[in-house]
Structure formats: structure tokens, C-alpha cells
Symmetry: C2
Subunit: 343 residues, 2 copies
């Protein structure tokens, strides 16, 4: 089997029936190209899977001194989950120190992601920070095609790039290692029926935490695993399911703190004492949530604001000539168990 060569700018121009210059202008988000021509070029880019050479690109495009943030969740979720506010806080501080405008692109949902791609490709920002990606969401592909330097929050779930293909830059925390530590802590307390409330399993963070749980409890009874969605309501639902299936469970590791807050409510409702009857460990150490639960939550700490700051820093470092696309970096930050009353 011969390896297919990477498509070139020339190939895109030939396919679209336009000049190299026109392709270059469309790829670089120059607004001066007629929409009919631009559409042809974008179509050819899609068909051929063309990825622009970002190093060259950074030399011809002007700077906008603006960076877009794309969160692959509806705006209602963005404002309801303090995780996003914390990550944005880190991003905002870092960008402001460099006098770069933070441009948050809000959507009602996934059906709006093509429009986000058009804005990114339209020459309005110098780069993008994207987080909370889902595996079946077209957004990662849309962001790639938009051709702006991007740093992802959380390891993207698509396959590893082949040789010669551009990689991706991302910042993540050690989800799997943190989950292992949480579960080992519960096992160390003598708990023998440890359940897990997962996050949405179309996100790598949730999958990695589940993998960490299974690393420790290799032969776990599958009835002890219930899927949540990182929200308090999802934690409540999953906790009810688990108690109905395995009433004698004596510990729960939840994939984040908001899920734990929901699970704790249900445990209280069912008359279970925490940690005496059921020990609970969360993930995030999101304050004030983790301190205000009843009882206060033992949890796996990750530095959410710091992750945001680092994402922004990596993107800025890649500006002005360096090529993020061909020198990608995946940075994985450590986690640490924080012990409070719940386990």
C-alpha cells in the first residue's frame, strides 16, 4: 500500500479551478474573496483534506490581537458549570497580560458549530482555544479546517496523527492517574463494593477516569458503573440507579464534584450516612462546591484556572512565526488527592 501524499495548495487550486493566490486568501481568512469562489475553495479543501501550512500562514496574515474561545457546550451549560468560569478566568488573565482580546463564541448547541467555524476562518482572530470537545461532534474537524492555530483543553479523542500529519496541541490533567488514586484511597479504607458515576463517555476526560477506576478494580461488577453527565442532576440519576441495583454498595467515585453533589443528596434522601455507610470521592476540587457539600468532599484536585492559563500561554508562544501545527505539544498536569470528610 502506497502512502498518499499530503495535498498541496496547488492541488486545492486545481480542484477548485481558481488561482493559488485565491486559495491562500480564503485559507487565511481574507474577507476580500467573493463568497462563490470562497465556497468552491472550502469545498476543495474539505474534499482533499488539505491542512494549511501554518508557519507560512503566520507570515502573510495580519494580527488581530484577539483569541477565540470555543466551548463545545450550549451557553446555558457554560454559565451553569463553574468549571468553565474557572478555565476562562485563567485564559482571561493570561490574554489580558498580553493585551489580547478574549472573544468567547457562544452557541445554543452543536447545530451552531458550522457558524463558529465560519467565524474562526473569517479572519477575526489569531488563534483559538477549544474545550469540552465530544467525540461525535464535528467541531474539532471544523476548527481544523478553519486553519487557525488552536490549543485544545483536554486530550482530543481523534486518532493519533500519522507521520507527516500535523499533530495537535493540548493541555490536560492526569485523569487516569487521578482516578486511580481516588479508587485506591477508597479501597485503602476497606471498602469492597466501590461504584463509579462516570462523566459523559463521549469525552476523553470521562473515558480516562473510567479507565483509571478499572485499572484498580479490574474485575469490577458492571452493575457498579453508571453513566452520568458531569451535572448534579446526572449525579442524582446515576446514584439512584446504582442504589437500586446494588443497595449494599459502600463507596462511590464520581467523575466530577458536581456529580458528587447530586449523589450526596440522593444518599441523604435514602438514609445512607456519608462516609460511615457510603464513602464518596469526587474529581476537580472545584471551590466552593467541594467545601460546601454535606459532608465536605474528598476529591482529586486539578488546577482548572492554571490549565486555562497554560492553554493561552502555549497559543501565544506559537504566534508570530512559530508553527503550533507541526510542533504540537500535549501537556499533562498532575493531580492530587484532597482529603475532606466524605471519604
Amino acid at each position: 500500500m502506497t502512502e498518499e501524499p499530503r495535498p498541496t495548495l496547488e492541488a486545492v487550486a486545481a480542484r477548485a479551478g481558481v488561482s493559488r493566490a485565491t486559495v491562500s486568501r480564503v485559507v487565511n481568512g481574507d474577507p476580500g474573496v467573493r463568497e462563490r469562489l470562497a465556497e468552491k475553495v472550502r469545498h476543495a479543501v474539505d474534499e482533499l483534506g488539505y491542512v494549511p501550512n501554518r508557519a507560512a500562514r503566520s507570515l502573510v496574515t495580519r494580527r488581530h490581537d484577539a483569541v477565540a474561545v470555543v466551548i463545545a457546550e450550549p451557553e446555558t451549560r457554560v454559565f451553569a458549570d463553574p468549571f468553565f468560569a474557572l478555565q476562562l478566568r485563567g485564559i482571561s488573565k493570561e490574554l489580558t497580560e498580553h493585551d489580547i482580546q478574549l472573544v468567547l463564541l457562544l452557541t445554543e448547541g452543536r447545530e451552531d458549530h458550522e457558524r463558529v467555524g465560519r467565524y474562526l476562518a473569517g479572519g477575526h482572530v489569531d488563534g483559538a482555544l477549544a474545550f469540552s470537545l465530544h467525540l461525535d461532534d464535528p467541531l474539532p474537524g471544523i476548527i481544523r479546517r478553519a486553519g487557525v492555530p488552536t490549543v485544545f483543553g483536554g486530550r482530543p479523542g481523534w486518532p493519533e496523527p500519522g507521520p507527516g500529519e500535523p499533530g495537535v496541541s493540548y493541555v490536560d490533567c492526569d485523569n487516569r492517574g487521578g482516578a486511580r488514586e481516588a479508587v485506591r484511597h477508597l479501597v485503602g479504607l476497606g471498602r469492597s463494593r466501590v461504584a463509579h458515576i462516570t462523566g459523559p463517555l463521549d469525552q476523553t476526560s470521562a473515558v480516562d477516569r473510567l479507565d483509571g477506576f478499572r485499572d484498580v478494580l479490574v474485575d469490577v461488577d458492571p452493575r457498579l458503573i453508571a453513566e452520568g453527565d458531569f451535572t448534579p442532576a446526572g449525579g442524582e440519576r446515576a446514584m439512584r440507579e446504582l442504589l437500586d441495583r446494588v443497595p449494599e454498595l459502600d463507596a462511590v467515585f464520581t467523575a466530577n464534584d458536581l456529580s458528587a453533589s447530586g449523589a450526596l443528596r440522593v444518599l441523604r434522601e435514602r438514609g445512607k450516612r456519608v462516609p460511615d455507610d457510603v464513602a464518596v470521592v469526587g474529581f476537580d476540587d472545584m471551590l466552593p462546591v467541594a467545601e460546601q457539600t454535606e459532608p465536605p468532599l474528598t476529591t482529586v484536585r486539578q488546577d482548572i484556572e492554571g490549565m486555562g492559563r497554560l492553554m493561552a500561554r502555549m497559543l501565544l508562544r506559537g504566534k508570530g512565526g512559530e508553527d503550533l501545527g507541526t510542533e504540537p505539544a500535549g501537556v499533562v498536569l498532575p493531580t492530587a488527592l484532597v482529603r475532606r470528610a466524605s471519604a
Copy 2:
């Protein structure tokens, strides 16, 4: 005294020492102008107070299918106060229905507002929605100079435009009438020492609510008025001040629900029963806050999400040829007293 003529495009070109075409391109956010020239033009625009003719402008600029939202508060406040999430929800729904991208420009504070102005003027959006303006903030002037059609949330506090000057479009609620209704309700309950915790008095909404309070209690003892800042912590501080000054007060009208939640905490702390000893009325009817206070809060309802939606609708109606700048509209929505246990 002769009236000064409105500065023209020609005057700006002469002052900057560039061609009319260059001024036009800078004003319209064309990215193709060298930064040194663009800077000269912006300087001349500032000096002369030039306001672009937006009707003409809309004919020459391309559409970006994007609208900026500018909230004149640091991003920490934007994410901590549910008022902004509600207003953004209304805006997001309306823009999404028209497939227009919501671009939220976040800042760390007022010192970043010049940068926001540069982004607005840079040809990245078709219009702007701005809210939570403060009287001493340069942002309103910066937004005007950016020359993009804008609808304001809340009546701007600057002086009424003179003849020939462009007016402004805004959406507000009947702050003064709502405050009057709240205070009349307290007086109707037989309360004779009614206090007021104001909002930040550099915002028209806070000033208008204070005016409404004074409309009813014309000769009020000034010790019964304390300045808050629309936050729970500000409500706590102001409530302590009031109780220290006038321990026998028997009612409080707070300028918003978050302030009321802080005031209620202090009243409880001081052993005052609500409403028996002190009746409390808030403003906003922000859910779930107003329902979850102890006791649930009597308050003045305004439709926050609906105001956001209407702002977006007014801006979109003004696009594509119509001139928002010369046909401004101030829309004031009604309020209604919602009775719960606190008064």
C-alpha cells in the same frame, strides 16, 4: 453662539493627512490599511469627534454575521451574577434564530476597554450590544467612536443628544416605577421606617430606583439610605450600616435580589424576624435566587431574558441599510410586584 458643524469624512482626511478612501476603509474596519496610517486616522477621528454615517457605512461593508456583546464588568462578575447569564440567554436565542454568531468580549476590567473598542472598530462584527454601563467609564464613548450600530441595555447616563446629533437605542425596565410600587407596598403594610439599599450610584438603574424610593418617601431620613453594589456582600455591608444607624428600622427595599439575599443574612444574624420585625422587598425576581432566600423574597419582577432578546431584535432590525444611529429608540418595559413571604 454659533453651532459647530458636524465633522465630515473630508475633515478627518485633511486632519490625518490621508485620502478620503483611507479614512473610509479605517472607519469601516477594512484590515488592509497599514497600522501607522490607521492610527493617524483614529487619532483624527477622536480629535474631531467624527461619527460615521452608518447608513452609508452599511452599504460598503460586508456582513460578518456576528454581533458583539460587551458587558462593562470584569469577567469574574459576569460569571458570578446570574443577571448577565439571563440577559445573554435571551440574546443568544435571538441571534441563533438568525444564524448570527454571538461574540462575547470579556475583560479583566475598565483598563481593557480601549482594546474592546479596537476590536469593535476592526471590522469583526456587524453591531454591538452593551450593558451594565457606568457613568464614569469611557466605554460608551469608545463604543460610539468604534462606529458600529449599538443597542444599550439600560438607559445610558450621558446627556440627551442635541439636535442633529445621533441618539442612542436602548432597552430598559421601568426602574423608577417599579421602585415606587415596592416602597408603596411596604408603606401599605404600615411600615414607617423604610430603609433603602441602593445599587452602585454610577449606574442609571440604581439612580432611577433610588429616585422611585424618594418619590414615595419625600422627606426620608438620609440615615435610612445606604449604598450597595448589586452583590450579596454589598447588601450585607449596607444592612449592617443601616442597623447600626437606625436599629428600629422596620422595612428595607433593596435595589436588587442579590443585595436582598445579603441583607437577609445580616437580619437573621442580628436576630430580626422577617417580615415580622423587618419586611424586605427586592428587585429583579431573579430565579432561583428570589425563591430560595429565607424567607422567599417579595420583589419587583423585570423580564431580564426578554430584555436581552429585545436588544438583539432591535439591533437586527437596524441592519442592512436602516440607520440605528439616526432613528434611535428607547424602549422601557413594565415591571410587576411579586409577593412572597418577606413582605
